[in-house]
């Protein structure tokens, strides 16, 4: 009985690790369930996310991609009535353990949302510095350095370095999204979660964001949700396909797109549904 269950678990985990990729796992998710009241949005999902890789989550609208992503930095529980079961390990530490403060997890696992949401009453500088100030950093020099470093990382520095005092909302949509990326990077996270970060942007801004993701991978682990298959194919190293709250298939991106093992994955990536 026990062995049977262990067998099932190790099977699940074997499937949860993309075949052929080696290296450290930054995040390890075990039998994750997420609920909105009675809505069961994520159904027993297990997956391991490789460090310094870009992992794309694809799947039809409403299949639970965003919900899954928000479980990785404990943002899911911000929604009233929302609930999580299962385990998420960040560098081996269970982020849902009772003694863990979600605030510290969110500093280590940053997030960029679908629509750019700079704080409208704050300048560009203050937007980027917001997270550090929350963490108690008051030293002007340190803030200056972090703001410049983050804006450079987000490939926005050259465009805004002479306008740091302007409101963040004065930027274009694509710039605003990069500002939000800089804002997330400023706190120095290990993981960056991106929920369809380019879906509200024009093609030029989209390719900027994609390029950015490729360079950020040197310093961070990125999990990106996208409904754009070309985007997943272009930017990601590994791809996970979700359907109705479950993980259908997970593997190196080229394999998922060219030789999927599951016919549902094949139907989806070839555009036969969703």
């Amino acid at each position: 009985m026990t062995t049977l269950r262990n067998q099932a678990l190790s099977d699940a985990l074997a499937r949860a690790e993309p075949a052929g990729s080696v290296g450290a796992w930054r995040l390890r998710v075990e039998r994750l369930h997420a609920y909105f009241g009675r809505v069961h949005a994520v159904r027993g999902l297990s997956i391991a996310i490789a460090a310094h890789r870009i992992t794309a989550i694809i799947g039809p609208s409403g299949c639970g991609k965003s919900t899954f992503l928000r479980c990785l930095n404990r943002m899911h529980e911000v929604v009233p009535g929302a609930r999580v079961e299962g385990r998420v390990y960040l560098d081996g530490e269970d982020i849902y353990a009772p003694y863990v403060d979600p605030v510290t997890i969110r500093r280590r696992v940053g997030m960029v949302f679908q629509r750019p949401a700079p704080f409208p009453t704050m300048s560009i500088y203050d937007n980027v510095a917001a997270g550090l100030r929350l963490a108690g950093v008051r030293d002007r020099r340190r803030l200056d350095e972090a703001v410049e470093r983050s804006l450079r990382q987000a490939a926005l520095w050259d465009e805004v370095k002479d306008a740091l005092g302007k409101p963040g909302t004065s930027l274009s949509g694509g710039q605003q999204q990069r500002l939000c990326i800089a804002r997330a990077l400023a706190v120095g996270p290990e993981v960056l979660l991106m929920d369809e970060p380019a879906s509200a942007l024009d093609p030029a801004s989209t390719s900027k964001i994609e390029e950015l993701a490729r360079t950020l991978r040197e310093t961070l682990t990125i999990v990106i949700v996208t409904h754009n298959m070309q985007q997943a194919a272009r930017v990601s190293d590994n791809t996970a396909f979700m359907l109705a709250g479950e993980l259908v298939e997970y593997g190196p991106t080229p394999q998922i797109f060219t030789r999927p093992g599951d016919h549902r994955t094949e139907d989806y990536v070839t555009g036969r549904f969703g």
Binding site: N73, M75, V78, P80, V103, T104, R106, R107, G110, M111, F113, R115, A117, F119, P120, T121, M122, A130, G131, L134, A135, C180, R183, A184, V187
Partner: protein
């Protein structure tokens, strides 16, 4: 305004040039029928302004602008300066805002950010009931309950601790500026808290989540994301409360003491423009006396329009933001 203009342009683009004529016409008639009552209201306001100005003319000619900053109010010798009333009106309203706004903001934050949907609905309902209490009733309560309480419970400790400040000096009367401020605060809280609550509810969830995602606690989300985003609506709510406070007549008249004086202490009686109008119109014996009262009415009217206009503008901005 912006939106309706865009709407009209879009409409013009969508309608075929020929076939739309009859509907256009019907549309225009309909719009006219709806605009007419609005126009009537505007005309009414203009008419009141003209009438008031006309009736106030003798006093305006006689005393000039000094009417507003001289403080001798002497019907026997036909000398009128409105400063004590202006002071009483401003002081009682400011006091109402100072007492009422922190409470209202606390209520608004609780309703919009902390309470569950059911609790919020129930509490909102109760608060709106406070706004429905006739002001005479509040005034009576003020005379029989609030004023004695202020005299025996509120003022003595204030005087003991802060008595070195002129604001809290002198004997405890009960009836006076402080009691008026408290009564007005009670009347202002429903407006300020419900408008502020709406301003906070209008803050997009994305703003909260963006702040959470940076490692903010719930309080930090409210403090750094929700309140700044909703600030123009909150300022509008405060100004609206201010406007409500200084137009208020009955309850204030009953507890402020009705003495035209400018005393440094909040414990002392004072007088407001609205209270003076209500009390003195029937006994205005000379034409100049009457004219001076009307001039005060004109001042109250103009300031009310300005303040409410500003508040409306700020509150409407929050829904567009």
């Amino acid at each position: 305004m912006f939106r309706s203009q865009v709407g009209r342009e879009a409409e013009a683009l969508l309608l075929p040039p020929g076939g739309a004529r009859p509907r256009r016409w019907a549309d225009r008639t309909f719009r006219g029928a709806l605009t007419a009552p609005g126009l009537v209201v505007v005309l009414l306001v203009a008419w009141i302004a003209v009438e008031l100005t006309g009736a106030a003319m003798p006093a305006i000619r006689r005393f000039g602008p000094a009417f507003l900053w001289t403080s001798r109010w002497d019907p026997v010798h036909n000398v009128f300066g409105a400063l004590p009333f202006v002071y009483g009106t401003i002081a009682s309203s400011v006091l109402a805002v100072v007492i009422g706004v922190p409470i209202s903001l606390g209520v608004a934050i609780y309703l919009a950010e902390i309470a569950g949907a059911r609790t919020a609905r129930l509490l909102s309902c109760l608060i709106e009931l406070v706004a429905a209490i006739p002001s005479v009733i509040l005034g009576l309560w003020g005379i029989f309950v609030l004023a004695p309480w202020v005299r025996t419970v509120v003022e003595p400790p204030l005087a003991a601790v802060l008595g070195w400040l002129p604001l809290f000096s002198g004997p405890a009367y009960g009836i006076g500026l402080l009691a008026a401020g408290i009564i007005l605060a009670i009347m202002v809280i429903p407006v300020v808290s419900s408008v502020s609550r709406d301003a906070l509810r209008a803050v997009p969830q994305e703003q909260r989540e963006a702040m959470y995602a940076l490692g903010a606690t719930r309080w930090e989300v409210i403090r750094h994301a929700v309140l700044p985003y909703g600030r123009s609506g909150i300022i509008g709510a405060i100004i609206l409360g201010f406007g409500r406070a200084f137009g208020e007549t009955m309850a204030v008249t009953m507890v402020i003491g009705n003495r035209p004086q400018i005393a440094p202490s909040l414990f002392q009686p004072a007088y407001t423009i609205a209270a003076a109008l209500a009390n003195e119109f029937s006994e205005a014996t000379s034409d100049l006396y009457l004219s001076a009262l009307v001039e005060m009415a004109l001042v109250l009217f103009a300031v009310s329009l300005l303040v409410n206009g500003a508040a409306q503008w700020l509150v409407s901005r929050m829904t567009r933001a």
